[in-house]
């Protein structure tokens, strides 16, 4: 065989092989795991009872301490919002410093506009809504991270790799819930992790432990006997901003339509 024939034949063989090979897909470990049928036995979910929350802010304070977010900085992994709806249908919302110190005045914090007084007789209803990362099943923040520094664990929690995050803020832009920020010390994306270091050791999250009224609960959706799972499955629960298709996993009992 001369060189020309050798090259010709090689090309034919490569071309011939390319057809059946193209039918094969690159195997992703995740898909392989799925075919084996052993999906993770844990899927963390959160249950918030808005009727039980009194806006004391203990959860916010506990979270800041537990996760070493400086108390004086104006970012927080979890916060509590106060909704005041008047008889005329106007809704006022505030969350002064994320309700770190609770709600110490009746007046509504309107930022640069100052404080707004709403007379007690004008109020139709008022309630508190705790907020935290929704640990979405389809997290927009994970999708948009250009370096894969934010990722989802097999049990559904979205975490940030502080050694890898470049600090572009694309994840902050992509989150419809506004739960992400920058950590002032690490200068990387910061978010609620459901206290992953605690729940993976059999403990509850810091905010759940700190709540004196049981307004916050965490559970495993894959465990049908878990009381949280039972409530989520059989109770009337709502989620936030379903329209974005992120499939949030923080469920709310008695969620009012005014909640943003």
């Amino acid at each position: 065989m001369n060189r020309r024939d050798f090259l010709k034949n090689s090309i034919t063989v490569i071309a011939g092989l390319a057809v059946p090979l193209s039918a094969l897909e690159l195997i992703s470990p995740r898909k392989l795991l799925a075919t084996k049928g052993d999906e993770s036995p844990v899927r963390w979910a959160f249950l918030v009872d808005t009727q039980a929350c009194v806006g004391c802010g203990f959860c916010v304070k506990a979270c800041k301490t537990e996760n070493e977010i400086p108390h004086e900085t104006n970012i927080t992994r979890t916060w509590v919002e106060r909704y005041v709806v008047t008889r005329k249908g106007k809704t006022y919302v505030d969350s002064p410093r994320g309700a770190r110190d609770g709600f110490t005045t009746d007046r509504i914090d309107q930022g640069e506009e100052g404080f707004r007084e709403v007379k007690a007789e004008e109020i139709e209803k008022a309630f508190f809504v705790p907020k935290l990362c929704n640990q979405c099943d389809n997290p927009a923040c994970v999708q948009v991270c250009p370096v894969g520094a934010t990722y989802q664990t097999p049990d559904g929690v979205v975490l940030v790799d502080r050694k890898h995050c470049i600090g572009c803020a694309y994840c902050i832009m992509a989150c419809p819930y506004g739960v992400r920020s920058f950590n002032p010390a690490y200068k990387t994306a910061e978010k609620c992790t459901f206290c992953y270091h605690r729940i993976s050791q059999g403990m509850k999250t810091a905010c759940v432990d700190a709540c004196p009224f049981g307004a916050r609960k965490i559970g495993n959706l894959r465990d049908p006997d878990d009381p949280v799972t039972k409530t989520i499955m059989s109770g009337r629960v709502g989620v936030l901003k379903e329209q974005y298709g992120t499939k949030p996993q923080v469920y709310y009992l008695a969620l009012s339509r005014e909640v943003k």
């Binding site: 900085t73 104006n74 970012i75 927080t76 916060w79 919002e81 809704t91 006022y92 919302v93 505030d94 969350s95 410093r97 994320g98 309107q110 930022g111 640069e112 506009e113 907020k131 927009a140 994970v142 999708q143 948009v144 991270c145 250009p146 370096v147 894969g148 890898h164 995050c165 470049i166 600090g167 572009c168 803020a169 694309y170 902050i172 832009m173 992509a174 989150c175 419809p176 819930y177 506004g178 739960v179 992400r180 920020s181 920058f182 002032p184 200068k187 990387t188 329209q243 974005y244 298709g245 943003k260």
Partner: protein, 417 residues
Amino acid sequence: MVHGEAWTLKELFVYPNEYIYWTIQIVMYPFMTGLVAGAFVLSSLYHVFGIKQLKDIARFSLVFSFALLPVAMIPLQLHLQHPERGIEVMLTPHFTSAIAAFGIAFSTYGMIVASELWFVYRKHFVETAQALGAKRDKTIPERGQQLLFSLLTLGAWDISEQALARDEKAVKVMATAGIPVACLLHGYAGFIFGSVKANALWTTPLMPFIFICSAVVSGIALCVLCYIATMEIRKLMVAWKRKSDPSLPTPEEIRTVEMFEVTMTAKYLVLALLAALGLELLDLLFRDYAKFSSWEIVRSLIYGKDFVNVFVIQYGIGNLVPLALFLLPRLTVRRAVVATLLVLMGVFMMRWNLVIGGQAFSASFSGYMHYELPIIPHDIETFKEGLLGALLVGVLPFIFFWGLNKIFPVFKCEDTH
């Protein structure tokens, strides 16, 4: 103080973690990439479509596009909280993210422009290196120059007619391939914004097309402006030098602004401007008609708080006035200068209203945020993400262009006398 707190003012209810995270540098990023892409498209008009009248400005805009290229990346780098990890986007890209493709789009485009430049200037490299080689008693800078130009030839010394014809063919191929890549580079910058579903103002599939059209507008405007400016500066310099050396050509003898080049490019500019304006108004009309849940707050922003920025400065002074200036008969150099300046301002304001405007309302749709541009910096952050950082980014391409012009001479004096 947390990132963003220094320049964000909150009004009514805004989530506690919300700040203006994408600041003036992210306004500069699409503005600069737009100029790169637009300048390249202009240079391709000559090379691909053979519009001979644009020869001068084509060469100019190609070099300018190359000078702008590194600057398109700097705003991104300046805005990162960990700039030292910026390279990770290229090394460990996470391809579900729109930003991850940046490395590929950017480097492909960079290579195309560089190779096109090389083919355009190869003859110049060879001739310069040979002329310097033939010279006796060379000074040290001349030796350096000879080495530089010899290296730039990459060993291709053949400048016979056939070789040059092949070069020309290669230039055409590169320029043709460059147009879709330039559009991709910038359309993709539009996609970065358009795909953020959480942001009511950004999310639209029209965004890449709006970006491409406005890129062409701004790129052409900047090239025309710089072309006129450099031609006028050259004229002044020649007049000044002639005082000491009367043998030099008179300002009348050297080549000056070719008015047909300006009118010709102005035509393309007007077309692109009309397309951009059409798409933007279509987007606005669609939002107004469809009235999504976010429309109430977006409307209050566009028609209320940002009315002057959007309708007066961007659409009015930045788009309609220059459109009229270009379309009125008997275009003069002076009018072209005013119109291009206004167009550039208009495109910049479009980026501003998009990037800053998109963050001017809370994701709760219940409050607003105001960006207070840091003018006098008091730390590195307010420098980087303030007026001075933006000015730095704005000035750099001209410095690069000045340097590149020494290697790739845009205006050859010997042509004229």
